[in-house]
């Protein structure tokens, strides 16, 4: 198998580290979506399907 085909078949992508992107890690880039996520957690909570299995 050629290297190109092996790379294409990989499930986990090859990721190049780019230091410039570190500046975004601690920033809230999408505050509206984050608020929606926190609102969902408050109102609906976590799925029973998953939390039940977790606590068993």
């Amino acid at each position: 198998m050629k290297i190109k085909e092996i790379l294409k078949d990989r499930k986990i992508p090859i990721v190049t580290i780019k230091k410039e992107l570190n500046q975004y890690d601690d920033k809230t880039l999408f505050p509206v979506k984050l608020e929606k996520a926190n609102e969902m957690l408050k109102n609906i909570g976590l799925p029973k399907q998953w939390t039940k299995a977790k606590s068993e």
Binding site: K8, D9, K11, I12, P13, I14, V15, T16, I17, K18, K19, L21, N22, Y24, D25, T28, L29, F30, V32, K33, L34, K36, A37, N38, M40, L41, K42, N43, I44, L46, P47, K48, Q49, W50
Partner: protein
Amino acid sequence: MKLPKYPLSSSDKMMTFEFISEGNKGVIYKIVKYQPTNLKGLFNLDFGDKDMETGEIDDNIISNNGDIEKVLTTVVATIYAFTDKYPNSWIYAPGITNVRIRLYRMGISRFLTETKDFEVLGEQEDDWEEFNLNVEYEGFLVRRKK
């Protein structure tokens, strides 16, 4: 995934990813961000276009660059990379607009047909259910299978 995707870059912690969309409108820098929520281990996924002049990220813009499938496949690829680094994390993708909901659904359905490595739930009427391609969800929750 065997589908074509763009090369990815990320921050050291793999909380922020970047790739370059190349289409009929030219080159567009895309940022994919995993934001920690109020619950430890649960991250909010969103992506948007980076304005190369101001450095600002816009997640409401509709690029229409003619490469939506490749863009979605690349976003899904970040889920692989992210959950490889943080295997116990859960990822929430809220669909704020109809366009974004449709995009996520397209991406997730494609993703599910390509791989069996993840579990996906859909948010509907204040509850969670197994993801169904034909249902309009308000958000999606994804985790890596053990």
